[in-house]
Structures are given as C-alpha cells and as structure tokens.
Symmetry: C2
Amino acid sequence: MSAEIKLRRFSSTDADFDSKLKALLAFETAQDDSVDEVVANILKDVKKRGDAAVLEYTNRFDKTNATSLTQLEIPQAELLAALNGLPAEQRDALKAAADRVRSYHEKQLMASWQYTEADGTILGQQVTALDRVGLYVPGGKAAYPSSVLMNAIPAKVAGVEELIMVVPTPHGEKNQLVLAAAAIAGVDRVFCIGGAQGVGAMAYGTETVPQVDKIVGPGNAYVAAAKRRVFGFVGIDMVAGPSEILVICDGKTNPDWVAMDLFSQAEHDELAQAILLSPDAAFLDQVYASIQTLVKTMPRQDIISTSLTDRGALIQVRDLDEAAEISNYIAPEHLELSLEDPLAFSKKIKHAGAIFMGRDTCEALGDYCAGPNHVLPTSRTARFSSPLGVYDFQKRSSLIFVSSAGAQTLGKVAATLAYGEGLQAHAQSAEYRLKK
Amino acid sequence: MSAEIKLRRFSSTDADFDSKLKALLAFETAQDDSVDEVVANILKDVKKRGDAAVLEYTNRFDKTNATSLTQLEIPQAELLAALNGLPAEQRDALKAAADRVRSYHEKQLMASWQYTEADGTILGQQVTALDRVGLYVPGGKAAYPSSVLMNAIPAKVAGVEELIMVVPTPHGEKNQLVLAAAAIAGVDRVFCIGGAQGVGAMAYGTETVPQVDKIVGPGNAYVAAAKRRVFGFVGIDMVAGPSEILVICDGKTNPDWVAMDLFSQAEHDELAQAILLSPDAAFLDQVYASIQTLVKTMPRQDIISTSLTDRGALIQVRDLDEAAEISNYIAPEHLELSLEDPLAFSKKIKHAGAIFMGRDTCEALGDYCAGPNHVLPTSRTARFSSPLGVYDFQKRSSLIFVSSAGAQTLGKVAATLAYGEGLQAHAQSAEYRLKK
C-alpha cells in the first residue's frame, strides 16, 4: 500500500466543528447477539459440568488433545524456564519494567483508617485485598507480555493471595514471553484455557480451576461477552474499546516524532484512533507530510493506514487553551502534551486516562516501563473512570462502633427518620438502645 | 398473620452444612427479557426524540398532564419550601444525619500525588471529580429521604459541579421528605421523571435534561435494566440485590434486641435476608421465641414473616472464630458483631459491606446517621466491592513526565519490549528520543 493516507483535517473555527468532532468520536460497540448466545451456552455448560465442559471446548477451539484439565496447567518450573530461556536483553527489559511498575503501584496502596468522636463512637474504613483474582491473557498475535505485568503486578501489590491466569494456547503453542512475564509478576497458577470457557472456569470454579472473585484482562468479543455476563457474580475490570491517543502540540516538536507517536496508536488495530490538535497550521502540514513518508517504513503500514484514514484527524485549534477544552470533551485514553511547561498545562486537564508530559515522553514509554498502568479507560469513559490500579484489587468495609453515649443521640435521630420512612423495626431497634 | 414463623435452624456441625449454607445464600437475579425489551425501546426513543419522548412516557406511566419538560422541573425554592415545611423534629433529624454523613465522607477524599525520580522524571496521579452526576430516586413507597442523602452527599463532597436528580411523581404527588433531603444535600436540579425514560434522559441528555457522566441510586426492575444498558456510555453504581444482615452474637445480648435487628432487615422486602450466627444454642432458642412474640407488634409483620421464612436462618456455630470464617464466605452487606471486644474481632473480617460493632450499634444507626454510607455491596459482592463513597465520584489520571535523561534509559527498555511484541512504531517513537 503506497497511496496517500487521506487523513481527516479540520479546524475548530469550522461552522460545523461540533458535529464533525462528534462524528469523529462516535463509536458504537455493536454487541453481536450471536456471539452473546454462544457465550451464554458455554457459560451455562461450564457452570454445570465443570472440568469436562472446559476440556471439551478447549480441545475443540484450541485444537488440543488434552485428556484432563490438570494437563493444561503450566507448572511454575515451566514459567521460570521460559524466563531463563529468554535472551538476556529481553529478560532484563521485562525485569526493569516490572520493577518500575511495582514501585509506582506501591504508592497506590490504600490503608485502613478510623477516628474516635468525643462521645467514644469509633468510625472508620477497613481496607482488605481480594482473596483470589483471575487474569485473562489473549493468545496468538495479541499476546502481550507487558499486559501480563500491568494486570498482575497491581493485584500482587494489593495483597491478593492467589492470582490465577488463563491463556489459550492454540495447537499447544505457548508464548514464552508471556510465560516469562507471568513468572516475573508472581502469577500463582497458569492454565492453558481461553475464550468464554476460560472466563466461565474462573467465575464459577471447576474441580481443577479455583473460583476467583474478580476477572481482569483483555480479550476478543467472546471473552468480552463472557465477562459482561459473569459481572455481578464476580467483579470485572472494564470492557475496553479500541485504543486512542490525543496529541496536543504547540508546533515546536519534531513532526516526525509526533507522526510516529500517532502511528504507535494506529498500529494496534484498524479501529484505533489517533488525533492531533495544534494551533499551528504549518505544523499540521509538516506532520501530514511526515505521516506520508514514514508510513512506508512501517511493517504494519496497512493497519496504520486504515486506522488513520477511518478514525484519525489533524485538527487546528485557536490556541492551546481551546485544545485543553476539546481534550476535556474527548476525555482521551492517552493524552500527550508535547509543549512547553506541560506540568502547568496538565492542571487544565480534567478527563484523561494518562497524561504524557513533554516532548520526550512518548506514549510508548508509558505502555511498557514508566511505571503507571497501561490499562486505561477508552471511548470517553475517562470522564468517570480511572486507570487499572491497586485500588481495583482492594475494597473497603465501613467500621461503626457506636458508644453507649453515642447510641442515645444517634438513636433518636435514626428513630425519627425511620418512622418518617415507615420502617418501624428500624426505629424500634434504635430505641431499644436508649436508656430509660 | 399470627402463625409461627418457621425460621430455618441448623448447625455448622451438620454433615451437609456447606450445601445448606450454599442453598440459603443462593439467589439468582433472573433478568426478565420482556422488561429488557421494553427498556431498550424506551432508551432508543429517548436518545432519538429527547424531550418529546420523555414527556410522553412520563405522562403515560405517571398519569401526569405536563406539556413540556420544563414544567416537570422542581425549582430550588420548592425544595427549600419542602424543607421549611417539615415538622421541626424531622428537619433537625435530617440535618443532623446530613452533617454526620458529610463529615465522615470528607475523610474519603482522595488527593493528587506525584514524585520526582533521581533523573528528574516525574510520576504521579491527578485526582479530579466527575463533572455531572445523575441521581435516580424511586417514587412511591420506596422513596427514602435517607437514600437521597447517602447518594448525593458523597458526590458533592467529591466536588461534582452539577448534581441532577430524577424522581417519578405518579399523579403529580411529591414526597416532601425527599424534596427536603435534596435541599439539604445540595442537589442542583430535580426533574419529576422516573423509569427507563429518567435514566435515558440523564444518560443521553435531552433539550431540557443535561447529560450526566454517571448515574447512581436505586430503582425497580426497569430502572435496573436501563442502568445496565447505558453502562459504559455513562458510569453507574452497582445494580443492587436484596438487602441482607448477618448478626454474630456471643449469646450475651438481649435476644429482643437481636430479633429486632433481624426484623430491621426483613421489613425491607420479602427477599431480604437476615441470618444469626451464635455458638449458644439456648440463645438461638431465646431469639427464636423473641421473634415469634415481637413480630405480632410489627406493622410490616407480613413482609417480615415471609422474608424470615423464605430466606432467614438461625445457625449454631462451634465458636466465634468459626462464625468469622462463615461470615467471610457470606461476605454480608451488613455485619453486626454483637459480642465482647468487637474491635479486635473485626480484624478477622475480610469481606463485609459495613461492620457494626458492639451491642449498642444496631444497623439502623448506620442506615440513617452514624456517618458511613448505607449503599453497600449485596449478594456476596463485598468479596470484590466497596460501599458507595466519595471515591465513586472522583477518578484518576496517570501523570508521566519523563526527563531527557530518563528517556534514554526508559527508551531502550521500551524499544526492546515493543520489538518483542512486534510493535515497531512503539519502538521507534521511543528510539527517536534517544540521543545519538
């Protein structure tokens, strides 16, 4: 493919800017009813027949010939062997990334707290870790060791006792980088299972696969549908949409750098979205030209080209303040601030998954090893949600210890309100504690 | 109804205890497909036709005759009038409850943080509030002013700029206590809309109702189905199951008190669950007797009787340590520790929505005015989730500002890992930042 990439180009001064922007961001995750029906049946079967069902689906979909689920478990020694078998450079890079991710996430740990009131009443919040977590890891080309680190390390930092991982191994082929990452991240048990049956096994538990309390990790449409269905019975992380980057640039960064940063998002898949905002029209021209030149050097140029043509845009803004406003509307998954004094500028950003500041901070650094998580809210959900973190593997219990004196004052208030709501047992249980 | 309540009674020493316990807790929220279809159509229509659709559904379902949505908005002056019109005792009780809820929730506020590494790289987390939140409040008999306080106050403490509330007013009848609670909690705008159309109006926005970023609050099956459907497009709190209480008692609390505490859960609805664990068989007998006597004095005795018969249980345990274990399996919404030194005992509790400690701390105090939230995880979801809190109305953005020196070390690690994953643009964007 060597034709020019027809990258959308418009300006915030266009009369129809708002509708253009809305159209650019529109993305309907059409749920496929046939996928959902297949998934519902698999889940029902796994819940009912346990190991036997999981084994059948795995042999069928992954073309394996296992005779028991025990055979599909990868022993810890094999994970370690995968790690030790890597070229030193890759092993060191994985370890360096894991160390930085761990060290950043340790700062997110929540602690319990409590306080005592004048009358002796104690209030607080007790923080505990989830007991057991399941990590779904895709097989095949989308198998990313970095994703294992980003999902597993926060769980371990939170204090999750047992971390179970499932990963499909079509034709029995195992991804050594993924196994090595599991070893580094401290995953406790790994099963070669994928798809809805992998999600079901962890949600309901089988004779061999332990039941978990929450399932995290990316997956295809079947995995996403399965996670949606077991949600409520177990916790899940969010079902992610296509990946996005928004770059805000003052026009003074090397246009090749910005073009490559846009590519680094676009190369993920055809639905990925890469947008650049700049007040400098000439700079937009330069980035446009860089894109046309550089794409030819990219092994994934077909994907990049489709992604940029279908969902990319270069947008001229009046000034950087307007860029911040537009960015807050977009609520991007990844936001690059390629401009002077990005730290001051970041105060204007209200909604974004991760903010990459300065011309040197390309998104790729954050994807792998800067420290913060690369599992981020997509499709404008940064308006109301956060990166995956240690807090997703901890939860809180309210603590209430009302003193005898406290029960006298609080009891009257509670009884008044309970009578107002027509809940007499509530009122009376409070009144029992009042001293006559 | 004056027949004896046939309350389930068993012991942890029973051979089939595990399966009995499992059966007791089993609760399938069967999703009604016909409800879901009705809801899907209403949402589609509201998204497409905005005000006109909301107006039609409201007039039809709530038997009103409004000619515009503007008519359905309740002005602030009317909220204040409702507050001022309450009997002084109710007004003071509402205000006292609101003050305590606010003061507790202020302790939950998250703050931004950042740190600088030796090479000048800055990492951190920026915490911001959601812009606009929607609060659903049920109409009719389930309209609880305490619920308005518990949902609205954390949002306002978090710094949410605009809080929209919808509440159905069948035949135009408004609940003055609910309006008064909205005034106290600082709700910004109130619309007399309910059902799926109320959820849709807030999720998509109409000409009159502003679009929100997250919808919280309880509702009937239609509201729950609508929330599930708009989830992802906007945030939602969790879709709650029936309410539950678990009381652990050493046998030294007045059995009438414990019976009334069980009633205070059972009176909510027929599906509510109340369970008592005690090592003292004679005490279980006493509570059983108290239940039979006291239920006759309860205005809601039919509901209490059905709830206790269908879903209640008195369970004898070997000792209090075993009670803690069983409690951790149940992961109750409300847990009362009616025993000596409950603070020490609470350290054994891993999973619970709220822990009520000591013989004086009946659940009702927490429901109304102790301070912590009464919106709590039900149906064993306390294994992986938390009470509603300020943290549900704040979110985080990762901050990454890599120094020029940092880009040299991180760039090499990122490039190695990116090549390992076959993502060349990722690698190259990192390598561009390496100094030649």
